[in-house]
């Protein structure tokens, strides 16, 4: 088997796992055997059995149904926040790299400050002050991750801008917008996709961490991070199944995203240091 074939096979396997997990969360209302919010106090902390395949939690809610629903909120949040950071980073990075001069200096100064802030600390403080709702979580995530994108984009734009063909385009009378859209963007696409992949994995872990601190997804909405903090943490000694199911889901999700990022990197043959190992 050639290297290419083996890569394809791995890529297909990882994509299948990822699609299965995403499919599970998207189709959750149809897949879940029970209502994830239905409380049954007569049947709490039941071990895995026939009625409840993964047992029940401290409020008698079906763990399997909660696990199936548990990715919805955080996946959506992670995808939205990372996309927003990418858009912000793209615009700011192109502005810095393409305009150069004082614009570049100002943006670089501001990004240095943002990079100097410890991300998780800012996130906890911001969500803690503004209250844990979707808007403040997304704001906190975007504020702490746009710099990664804008630095990458700026570096790439600087490199592309120096190419002779860009000068040629200018000579032929192409406008700035045309050069940015038709020549700069396609060149940074692959790196951006890879950075997006690794960032989504990171952001999912951050959201899970926030939910664990009860600053993220709020109960009773089923969420993997919240499930681990809510009931699993108090009862994991007597009911370890509460810890396993949501934990394995988070790990499987982030692991497949990371492996996908690695494979894309190998496959698309990225040489840029900026995204080599993140």
């Amino acid at each position: 088997m050639t290297l290419r074939n083996r890569q394809n096979l791995k890529l297909a396997a990882v994509s299948a796992v990822l699609l299965a997990l995403i499919g599970m969360t998207v189709l959750a209302p149809w897949l879940a055997p029970c209502d994830p919010l239905a409380i049954d106090m007569s049947n709490c902390l039941a071990p895995p059995g026939r009625a409840h395949l993964l047992g029940t939690d401290a409020l008698g809610r079906d763990v399997l149904s909660r696990v199936i629903h548990g990715g919805r909120a955080s996946l959506l949040l992670a995808a939205a926040a990372t996309s927003l950071s990418m858009c912000a980073g793209l615009v700011i990075g192109i502005a810095a790299g393409y305009c150069g001069g004082i614009v570049d200096a100002a943006i670089t100064g501001v990004s240095n400050i943002f990079q100097g802030l410890p991300g998780m600390v800012v996130m906890i403080a911001l969500v803690g002050v503004l209250g844990s709702n979707t808007r403040s979580i997304i704001l906190a995530l975007v504020l702490t991750s746009w710099v990664g994108f804008s630095r990458l984009v700026r570096g790439e734009v600087l490199k592309i801008k120096a190419e002779p063909y860009i000068e040629g385009m200018r000579g032929l009378g192409a406008g700035h917008l045309r050069i940015i859209l038709r020549h700069v963007m396609p060149n940074i696409r692959t790196n951006l996709i890879i950075l997006f992949t690794t960032r989504v994995g990171r952001v999912i872990l951050s959201v899970a961490g926030l939910s664990y601190l009860s600053l993220g997804i709020q109960p009773p909405t089923p969420d993997w991070g919240e499930m681990i903090s809510g009931t699993a943490r108090r009862y994991f000694r007597s009911a370890p199944h509460l810890l396993w199911a949501p934990g394995i889901c988070i790990i499987l999700l982030t692991l497949s995203i990371h492996v996908l990022g690695d494979l894309l990197r190998d496959r698309l043959d990225v040489k840029q240091d900026a995204v080599k190992e993140l």
Binding site: V121, V129, A208, G209, R233, P240, E277, L278
Partner: protein, 317 residues
Amino acid sequence: MAILTYTGRRLLMLIPVLLGISLAAFLLGRIAPGDPVDEALFRIGVEFPTEEDRAEMRAQLGLDRPLPAQYLDWVGRALRGDLGRSYVGNRDIARELMTRLPITLEVSLAALAAAVVFGVGGGVLMAAFHGTWVDTVLKALSTLLLSVPGFWLALFLITVFAEQLHLLPTSGLDRGLASLVLPAVALSAANVGSTSRFTRGNILAQLGEQYIVAANAKGLSQKAVMLGHAFRNSLVPIITLIGNYFGGILGGSTIIENIFAIPGLGSYVLSAIQNRDYPVIQGYVLVTGATFVLITLAIDLLYLAVNPKIRIQGGES
């Protein structure tokens, strides 16, 4: 001389970052929901304030002045070690933070040490055994570590090492080094994963360079080429990366302190968040931010030891 230039430049670069951190901490107090005037009046027992009460309190709190003046005032007091008093318990925030900071630092530095030892060590091993099963297994392991949420790992480690094997304590810090092991491992896991991957990639990139061919050609042993040449030259980016991770470790320690019942900064800020005790949150951001900056500075000064270019020319940036 070059050393002084480099150190001076690094110190100058601290100023905007410290300004940014103080601005972020200050603004946190301003964007907080609720009117601080009403809350301050409520705390001294005035439940139904008149306009006069409010105007007086506003002037007393300095909130009638323009925002930049308020900021300068706040920074000035913070520099003198006055971060105000907490809403809950009316305690001196700066003193409370300072008694808790060493505890958080102990846990975070232990985690940083673990990330350096296992991350760099694992990366060197992977590079040395590049292409063999050792590399494959360690690489898979490091990707797995990167994907495990720290809080889950912490609970898992407690179950295995504390509950089942009774080797290590489940919480607190009263058993010295033994009680630091689990928090440090849980806190550093993700960083061990990324550091080892990064180290591996960097050393492998160095191994493709011309000077490695030269070193091999003059008959140096594999070990000497690996450690003396490839590893040495890949150290600079690795040190930068590890410095950046410290910010993540400081933030992540909030979660870990919560799990292991460690009375550090993290558990303080979490209870402050629950009580809407905004001055404490501001102080937390200021103190952790400043700590992060100082530790990164200390790590950056390590460049002087590993990078002769800086010792001689003063470095680029």
